[in-house]
Structures are given as C-alpha cells and as structure tokens.
C-alpha cells in the first residue's frame, strides 16, 4: 500500500530494515513457490511471507513511525525547538536513504490514494470534531475570505509570475505553457491543514489567529480542488481549446464543489446524530458509528467529486454537539482517544513518508530559477495577499488583526502533503514537466515545514518581546496575574466576547426548538433544558456540597484520591504538608549541624527562605487554576487533556454552585438580601417540595425551614470564612467548629502517634440513626450521613453507641476503638475539623494500606454519602423528579454547561 506497486526485493528489504537479518532470509525464501511447500508432506511450520506481506509492511511502518515519535520525545529540548513534523521528515529522508542504499528502488512513497483515502480523513475529521465551534463560526467570514480569495490570489499570482519569468527566459528551456504554470500555482497555493496544525500546535498564538490559519487551511480545500481540476482539464484540452464557457463552468463548479461538499457533510452529520440517538442498547459500537458515518461522508463527496475535506470537516463540526450529548461517557472517551490516535498517527506517517518519498532520483529535476522563484513568490504573494485582505477585513472586524498577526498569518502559510499528493497525481503524459513540479513541490514543502516551522516559534516570541528581563515573578505577581486572567475571561464572557450574537441567538433558538429535539436523546434534551438545568446544577451542587463537607471535616484525602490518582501530595505521607515538611526538614538539618561561620549561617537562613519560597511558588504553579483560554478553545491534535480541564471545571463548578446554593438558602432564611434574584427559584422549589414532600415524609422534620437552617449551618462549618456575613447567623455552628478545632489542635501536638484517638473519638458517636441525628439540632445530621461510608469493611456497623446526645462532648470524647476500621483516616466522616488536620496524615494504618486499597476505599466512601443523602435530606425532595437520577448521571449531565 505504501507504494507497494513495486514488486520484489523491496519488501524483503523493508523487513531487513526492521527485523534485521531474518528478513534477508525471508526475502530469499519467499521467492520460490513459498508457503505451501513443495515437499508434499505436511509441514509443521511453513514460512508464508507473501501471505502476510502487505499488512505486515504497513504495520511495521506504523511501528517505526511511532517508535520514532517516542524517540523524539525522549529529548524535551529537541522537541521544544524543532517541530515534530520537521523531525519526521528528516527521519523519513534517512530511512529513505537506507532503503535506497540497499535497494536502489524507491519502493515506498506516499501515494495519493493512500494519502487521500486513508491518511487525510482521520486528520480532517479530528479537526472538525474538535473544532472550537464558537470561535470558528465567529470568524467564519474572515476564514472564508482567506480561504477563497486568498487561495485564488496565491494560485493566480504565483502561476502568472512564474510564467512571466519563464517568458523572460530565466528558466531555460521548458516544455511548459501558461496553463501548466497556473496548474502548478493552484496546487502549490493552498495552505496545508496538516502542516499548519503540526506547527501551530507548538506555537502558542492567540486563539483568533490560530482559528483563522487553521480554518483557512481546512476550507481552502474546495478552492484547491476546483482550481486543480479545472486547470488539469484545461491542460488536457490544450490551451487553444479552452473557451469562455469552460471558464464559467469552472466558476460554477467552485460553488457546486464547495457548497455540495458542505451539504454532504451536514447531511451525514444529521444522520450520525440521529443514529447515535438510538444506540442506547448497543453502547459498545457507538464509537464505530461516528467513524464510519463520517468516513462515508468523505467517500460520498469524493464519489460525487465534491470537496471531501469540506464534507468531513462539516460532518465533524455539525455532529459534535449532538453526538457528545447522545453517546455515553465511555463512548465519548473512546471516540476522543481513537480520533486523536488516528489523526496523530496519520500525521506521523504522512510526514515520514514525505521524507521517504523525496529519496528517489527519478523524480528529481532541478531547475534553480524555478525552484527558488517559486519559494520567493509563494512567500511574497502570501504576505501581500494577507496584508490586502486584512486591510479589508479590519474595516469590518471587531477584533482587529494587528500587524504582528499579519506577519504570523503570512509566515504561517505552510504547504504540505496535500500539495505533494496532488502533484504526484498529475498525469505525466499531459503535463510534460511533471517531475520538475514534483521536485519543486517537495522543496517547497520541506522548506515551509522545516525552515518556517523552525523559525516561526522564535519569530512569534520575538515579535511579542516586551521585557527582556527574566525573573521569577513574585508571589503577588503570580497570584494576581492569574487572577487577572480569570477576570479577563469572565469579562469576555459577560461582554459577549466574539460578535455575531444575534445570529448565534437565532441559531441556538432554532437549535433548541427543532434540531435538538430531533437529534438528541430525551434525557440529554432534558439535561439541556434551561430551568431544569439549573435545578440539576443545584441538586448536583447540593450533593457535592455534602460530600465536600465530609471531605473537609474528614480529610482532604477523600477528594484527592479519587480525583487525582497521583499520590504525590496526598496526606498519607507522614509529613504534615509539603511546604511545612520541607521547611521544617531544612530547619532541622540546620539545627543539627554545628556551624560557627556566621556568613554561612546567614546564607543558610536565606536558603531556607528561598527554599520556602520555591516550595510556595511551586505549589502555586502547580495548583492555581488555569485561565480558560489556556486550555480551551484551542484545538490540539496531540494533547488530549480534557480530563484535566474537566476536572478543574468540575471543581470550580462545584464550588460556585455550592456557594450559589448557599445564598439561595440564606435567601430563604432571609439572611441575604438578594431575595429578588432567587425569588423565582424559591417559588419553584417550594412548589416542588410541596408536591413531593409526602413520599419522603418519613423524615422526622416537619419544618423544612428548620431543616434548612441546620444544614445551612452544617454547610457553613466548612466554609465560614468565605461568608463573613453569615458569621452571626452561623455562630452556633462556628462555635462548634471552633471547639472541635481546638480539640484537633490540642491533639495534634502529640504527634503522629496520638492522632488516632481524637479521630475515632469524633467519629464514633455519630453512628446514631438518622432520626436521632436529626433530632439533635446541631451537627449530628452530617455525621449521620457520613457515618455510613465507613461501614464498608467486614466490620459490621456497630449498632450506634448512644445516639449523639451532645455532639460537643462526643467530639472531645476519646476513642471508641471497636468501631474504628483500619485506615478510617481518609474517609469523609473521619473528623469534624475544617482543616484536614495534620494528624490525619500521620495515620500509620492508612500508611500500611496499598495504593489500590486506598483508592478503592476512597472511591467507595465517595459514593456512600450520596446514597445516604436522599433519605436524609428533605431538600432533595424539593427538586424536580428528573433530578432524582443517580448522582452519577448528574455528573455526566453537568458537562453541557
């Protein structure tokens, strides 16, 4: 398949490459009648190379490419300077050289068939499916202008200028006409999506700029295809036979090809969304539909000679919303990873084979003037085109494209494999100088990918030069700087960032009214419904707040372990915290060493200070939330870290919603002034509560408001500092909190060993039945809720020791050891202190457990409070029935927000 047209020794040779000596033998053995053995009798082992040859070779190449990628990334330094695409091309050149040296036949080249049918679609689909839609459509006008007018401009000017120079005789004698030049111009004009992505991913330009270059490279395909086809047929016809009618036909065909391709894509996207709506019972093949139907859209439009790239791009763009809503979370993950894997793999292979294909003396025809002038023309005309178009665009654009942006736009016009595949497709019979075109294209591709790819990053950095001084920002700068980023992104959201609001509103209205109804599962629709959504959020929030509550009271390990699987900073370590630990460690070091030299003492003191600073900086660096722009909105083919982002989003979301919920509740209690704002919700919730309070009426609370108060306080326990206004109202809870904290504090000095006692002491009395807990006004409610989680162990849940009569005293009370399960430390119910309490980390028992056990345990405990939550909380009954889905489902549905 990789140019496997050539027969014979080449194959054996490839093996030689990968498998060493064995291959040679294989190559020899293969030739004579091979596998089936002439000796007649049954052969236990036969060597059937020819039988597996093709797939084997393919698999080997993929392996080679992938291993090469591993190799590149071994050195971080290299990959941060040299783009991967350039490295791959060089690798391809080397490999091609080896193959050539051994074989003298170019056995492996990038053939247009393989490229267009197998390598390009995954890349483009990936681009479409992960397209930041809002950004894309927000800049659609600009993108279209660059893609259409810009490409035509490039093709025409390059072709004509080359022709002009040719007429002047500078290129010597070539069998070439105007149309050939235009044909060449048209295939070399298009900015290549693969190359652009490969390079721009590593150059972090602003999102608008990125989407313009990226979008242009995707959408210019239609233009390229049309121009290429038109000129190719003109060349075939011969220059004299081209009539005006043909030209008009050419222009018409542009619209047919581009709009037709888009239409095909949209139709298939519709189909795909519709299909995924009904895959509930065949979850396992859901991801398959996504790939197969998208691929069909590509093939269909190829069949109809429309723009296949446009088709699959738009298929991805249009279906993403509905597909993501319809398919299960696991399927979505599968789709994500598979798509990234295919795209990334295809890209790797493309660049490697570009390099390999270049090693073939038969295609090389050198013409210095032609090659150099082509390079000059494409760069110059690209720049001129960009400047002209930008000038035009800036009169209408809200976000102006600054001169710097224009430089990047011009310089980012990389050519790539599409041009190469197209030029290889040329018919050597009709285009006499095909080889010259091919070699020039290779040079152009290599030049843009390697040279421009290498230099664009420094260029971008250099253009944005502001301060040369390189210093570690101070703490304040770091913190506030990050805060500014968040503020900015919030303000952007509030102010509506990118224009086109009107159209977007209309569209989303249409989408909600019609499209989503048809294309989305009912459950998914519901989760998108606005009001319900808010309730979902609140409900989810609610659940989380209690879990979080438990986490705060108990230990942070509870949240930490399930969300981050890294055990680096987790509290099972015997130290109190990274910062403190390292600092105290240093101090201890110092104390122990006898040092009389004052200067070095001084130095040491400073170094302690520095170390502290370092640790602090490090902590901040690592854990400050990233501003939205840094991780969203940018398409990346290689990096797939949405889990990280989602984790952050979820975390913040939970916090936000909890706070909002609290303010709702306090509104209810008349504690907060923003009554008006919450009025609607209040009413609605009240209604719901009335409707559904009966089934849950078993709870001993008659007075929901009082119930709220209790929980309000419980909630506040964790969070009092964030709501200074509540302090008075919550004083009861705080007092309790304080007392518990004091306990903790008094315990902790005892060190790691003494920590078990207060822990269990605090938790065991909580094992009261919920009713009893509810009866106690203050906080037993939560303990009751949280007490369950600790029952998973074989230890039977001890029949509640004296139903917490007085929580305070209970908290202070020493251990009731029989109830303690090993490693109870990190469970949510463990303690009541707001701080995670250093002592918890010191638990020797926790230490003893294996990481897996810990994880299992924490996961278990993570779920437990939810299970418990429903009967215990009246409030939940007040939410709409749809919210009573299992918490897991809720979590999934939160994403659309």
């Amino acid at each position: 398949m990789w140019g496997l047209g050539s027969r014979g020794p080449g194959r054996g040779l490839l093996l030689a490459l990968a498998l060493g000596g064995l291959a040679r033998a294989g190559g020899v053995e293969v030739e004579p009648g091979d596998a089936h053995g002439e000796s007649g009798g049954f052969q236990v082992v036969t060597f059937k190379w020819a039988h597996v040859q093709d797939p084997y070779v393919i698999a080997l190449w993929i392996l080679v490419a992938s291993v090469a990628k591993i190799g590149f990334h071994l050195s971080h330094k290299v990959t941060s300077v040299v783009p991967e695409s350039a490295l791959l091309i060089v690798l391809g050149l080397v490999l091609g050289g080896i193959v050539w040296a051994a074989d003298h036949i170019a056995s492996f080249t990038l053939t247009p068939t393989v490229f267009f049918f197998y390598l390009l679609p995954p890349i483009v689909l990936d681009a479409g499916y992960f397209m930041p839609n809002r950004l894309f459509f927000g800049n659609l006008g600009t993108i279209l202008l660059y893609a259409v007018v810009g490409t035509v401009w490039n093709a025409a000017t390059t072709g004509l200028s080359l022709y002009g120079v040719f007429l002047s005789g500078l290129m010597g004698d070539l069998k070439i006409g105007l149309l050939d030049f235009l044909l060449f111009g048209s295939l070399i004009a298009a900015v290549d999506p693969v190359a652009v992505l490969a390079v721009f991913e590593e150059v972090h330009v602003n999102e608008v700029l990125f989407i313009i270059v990226f979008g242009e490279s995707l959408l210019n395909d239609a233009v390229t295809v049309v121009l290429y086809n038109v000129f190719e047929s003109f060349v075939a016809l011969g220059g004299d036979n081209v009539t005006g009618v043909d030209c008009v036909k050419g222009i018409v065909s542009f619209f047919v090809v581009s709009l037709g391709g888009t239409l095909v894509g949209v139709v298939f996207a519709f189909l795909l969304s519709l299909v995924t709506r009904f895959t509930k019972h065949v979850r396992i093949i859901e991801p398959g539909f996504v790939f197969v139907i998208s691929y069909l859209s590509y093939l269909t439009s190829e069949m109809l000679s429309l723009s296949a790239i446009l088709a699959i791009t738009f298929c991805g763009i249009c279906c993403q919303k509905y597909v993501k809503a319809n398919i299960s979370e696991q399927s979505a993950t599968t789709v994500r990873y598979t798509m990234k894997m295919l795209a990334s793999g295809a890209e790797t292979i493309i660049f490697m084979f570009l390099g390999i294909s270049a090693v073939n003396p038969f295609i090389w025809t050198w013409n210095t003037a032609f090659v150099l002038l082509t390079l000059v023309f494409i760069s110059v005309y690209r720049a001129i085109g960009v400047v002209l178009q930008t000038w035009l665009l800036n009169r209408y654009r809200m976000v102006q494209l600054e001169p710097i942006d224009q430089v990047v736009l011009s310089y980012g016009g990389l050519r790539g494999a599409v041009a190469f595949a197209l030029v290889v497709l040329l018919d050597g019979e009709k285009v006499k100088e095909k080889n010259l075109f091919v070699s020039t294209t290779i040079i152009v591709v290599f030049f843009t990918v390697i040279f421009q790819g290498l230099t664009i990053k420094p260029l971008v950095q250099w253009l944005k030069v502001k301060r040369s001084e390189h210093r570690e920002p101070r703490l304040n700068e770091k913190l506030h700087g990050r805060a500014f980023d968040h503020i900015l992104s919030a303000i952007e959201d509030i102010s509506g960032q990118i224009g086109h609001n009107y159209l977007r509103d209309k569209w989303s209205h249409f989408d909600r009214k019609f499209l989503s109804r048809v294309l989305m599962r009912r459950s998914a629709q519901k989760s998108r419904d606005r009001i319900l959504n808010v309730f979902h959020e609140l409900n989810l929030k609610d659940a989380i707040s209690y879990v979080a509550e438990g986490e705060r009271r108990g230990s942070l390990a509870f949240i930490r372990s399930p969300s981050t699987d890294n055990m680096v900073n987790v509290d099972f370590t015997p130290r109190s915290s990274t910062v403190e630990a390292s600092v105290s460690y240093l101090l201890r070091e110092n104390v122990s060493a006898v040092c009389l030299d004052m200067q070095s003492l001084e130095q040491r003191r400073r170094s302690i200070r520095d170390a502290e600073d370092m640790v602090t900086h490090h902590t901040l660096q690592q854990y400050l939330y990233k501003p939205r722009q840094e991780y969203k909105h940018l398409y990346s083919r290689h990096e797939l870290t949405p889990t990280e982002d989602e984790k952050q989003d979820r975390e913040i979301f939970h916090r936000t919603m909890r706070k909002r919920l609290e303010s709702f509740k306090s509104t209810k209690l008349g504690l907060n002034q923003n009554k008006k704002a919450a009025k609607m919700y209040k009413r609605e919730r009240a209604q719901k509560r009335r409707n559904s309070s009966i089934p849950n009426g078993k709870l001993p609370m008659e007075n929901p408001v009082q119930n709220f108060t209790i929980k309000e306080k419980d909630l506040e326990l964790s969070d009092t500092e964030e709501h200074p206004n509540y302090d008075e109202e919550m004083s009861g809870g705080i007092e309790f909190l304080a007392s518990v904290t004091k306990d903790t504090a008094s315990d902790s000095p005892a060190g790691d060993t003494g920590s078990d006692t207060p822990l269990t002491g605090r938790s065991s009395p909580r094992h009261g039945p919920p009713a009893a807990a509810a009866a106690a006004p203050e906080k037993p409610l939560i303990p009751a809720r949280l007490q369950r989680p600790r029952a998973p162990s074989p230890v039977p849940p001890a029949p509640a020791p004296a139903p917490a009569q007085n929580p305070e005293s209970a908290a202070a009370e020493p251990a009731e050891p029989q109830e303690r399960e090993p490693g109870a430390g990190p469970t949510p119910g463990a303690g009541a202190g707001p701080g995670p309490g250093p002592e918890r980390r010191g638990l020797p028992s926790a230490h003893a457990r294996s990481a897996a056990a810990r994880r299992v345990h924490s996961r278990r405990s993570f779920q437990r409070p939810r299970a418990r939550r429903r009967p215990a909380l009246l409030k939940l009954a007040s939410l709409p029935p749809s919210c009573h889905a299992p918490p897991h489902a809720l979590e999934q549905e939160e994403t659309p927000l």
Partner: protein, 196 residues
C-alpha cells in the same frame, strides 16, 4: 439584524455614557445588544441571576466575585450604564487616552490605576481599603485546586501578604497592591481588544 440599527436611539444617555466610558458608538451598540440578550425577561436591568446564567462563569473561579462587582453596595440590579461602566475598565488603553487627558476630567475608567482598583476591590470584600490576610486566603482558596491543603494555603496567603505588605500592618493596602504589581503590564493584561 434590522433591530440593530434602531438601537442607538434605544440606549438612554448614549452620549454621556460614551463620554464616561470612552467606548465607541459601535462597541456601545454591541454591548447594549449583549445587555439585552442577558436580560432575560426584558426587565431593563440585569439581576445576579441573569449573569449567573452565563455558563462559563460557573467554571470561572472568580466568576461569582466578578458578578458581585456589577452590583456595588449590595444593590439588586444593574442598569445599562452601570453594566458598561464596569466593562469600561477593560477597554484597552489607547494613545489618544493618554494624549487627550484632561486634568480636570476624572481619570478614565480604563487607566492603569482603575484597572488595578477593579481587581483590588474583588479581593477587598469588606471594603476597608485593605486586603487582609483573611481576604487573601479566601481568594486563594477560590483559585487553587482542592489538592492544596489548608495549611499550605494559609502559608501561601501569609507569604503573599508579607511580600506586599510594606508598612507591616498585616494587610495589603491599595498602594501596596499597586506597588507589588508595578512590574506587570497591567494595561495589557487587563484589557480586552474587542472592547474598544
């Protein structure tokens, strides 16, 4: 977008708003459009709820603080001038702003000082003109992942305050705040290009 052209008349006191905020006519129209889009029940003002509906804000750690900043002094609603006034802090600083600075006129809203002040008041919840250690800690808690323990946070808050605190009162005043950020390109960091 036929409705758009008629907006100019709809915005009350368009001229005085423009003078105060420095927004261009087009930006103002656009913001007004946005304002009306956010105003769900066509009340003529925005409530907190309206702003909370913006999904992206829910995942912004400072989202709610920023929403609050639109409602000074505990008011329940923000009208268009108020809305624009807050956004005006984020208008990029242009040359003409500095050139045509009239000593009589109050500093434009998008001056460095005002930009910083906007940020400052997001920290300073109790409006005493100082960011206490406590307030710093709250912001930190919002902005740092749950992986960081309380002690670590407190530690960081302490250091941050110490670093900026010059008069040793254990809190960061606005002057100190400004000073700690004097090397930062606030004009650029706190500006949005689209808000011209």
């Amino acid at each position: 977008m036929g409705s758009r052209s008629s907006h100019a008349a709809v915005i009350p006191d368009a001229d005085s708003i423009r003078r105060e905020t420095g927004f261009s006519q087009a930006s103002l129209l656009r913001l007004h459009h946005r304002f009306r889009a956010l105003d769900r029940n066509k009340k003529g003002y925005l409530s907190r709820m309206d702003l909370q509906q913006i999904g992206a804000l829910a995942v912004n750690p400072l989202g709610d603080r920023i929403i609050e900043s639109f409602f000074p002094d505990g008011s329940q609603q923000v009208d268009f001038p108020g809305f624009v006034r807050v956004l005006a802090h984020f208008r990029p600083v242009e040359d003409e702003d500095t050139e045509t600075q009239d000593p009589k006129k109050p500093e434009p809203l998008n001056s460095r000082r005002n930009k910083l002040h906007y940020a400052f008041q997001l920290y300073d919840l109790d409006r005493d003109g100082k960011i206490s250690r406590h307030e710093m800690l709250q912001v930190l808690r919002l902005m740092v992942g749950v992986q960081v323990t309380e002690e670590q946070l407190e530690n960081i808050a302490d250091r941050t305050v110490q670093e900026a605190d010059e008069d040793g009162d254990g809190a960061v005043s606005f002057v100190e705040f400004t000073k700690s950020l004097e090397k930062m390109d606030v004009e650029q960091k706190m500006s949005i290009r689209i808000l011209k």
